[in-house]
Symmetry: C2
Subunit: 80 residues, 2 copies
DNA sequence: AAAATTGTTATTTTTTATCATAACCTATGT
DNA sequence: ACATAGGTTATGATAAAAAATAACAATTTT
């Protein structure tokens, strides 16, 4: 069924969106801006924004870099 | 310094290795084989092996699929 | 209200993950 | 001894993430 594939893709979107929201929330809790993080890990704020809005299927190492820059743990990003 | 770059890369390797070991450990705890997981998520066991051995910088969605196939949470993979 | 800061969106290039296939090794079982 | 099961390693094609740039919107500050 095509519909079930669409549903799977939607669940994936939601998942990435939640991960992104967690990143954004933790970042703000620490009083940091996307630029602050970006400078630390040498990443453009535009890409950070993309990740925080769940538009990217971010890799483990990228998550690790971001976590490191905000003194958080990668697992925190997957806490729902 | 080139040496510090090498050290960063080594840390990354170790990180991915630990994630992979967590995946393998949890899989075995549930009494599943790489093939069992592979069939569920339509992934070759060779690729699973690659991930479990930390040779791949696995993405969030791939981790989610693997977690789903072994009734685990993605955050479990990042528990050190 | 203008300027600076913060965040978003779109686009392109480069790098790399995913996916598939095959060959191989090590046990275990027949 | 051979077959099967479980896992590893290597390789190549394709899809997608990473990275960089630019333009824009929305806040906040001055």
């Amino acid at each position: 069924m095509i519909l079930s594939l669409i549903m799977v893709k939607n669940k994936e979107k939601q998942f990435l969106h939640k991960v992104g929201k967690n990143i954004a929330r933790l970042r703000k809790e620490k009083g940091l801006t996307q630029l602050d993080i970006g400078i630390q890990i040498d990443m453009e704020k535009s890409n950070l924004s993309s990740i925080e809005n769940g538009r990217q299927n971010v890799t483990s190492l990228t998550l690790r870099k971001i976590a490191g820059a905000m003194d958080a743990q990668v697992k925190d990003f997957f806490e729902f």
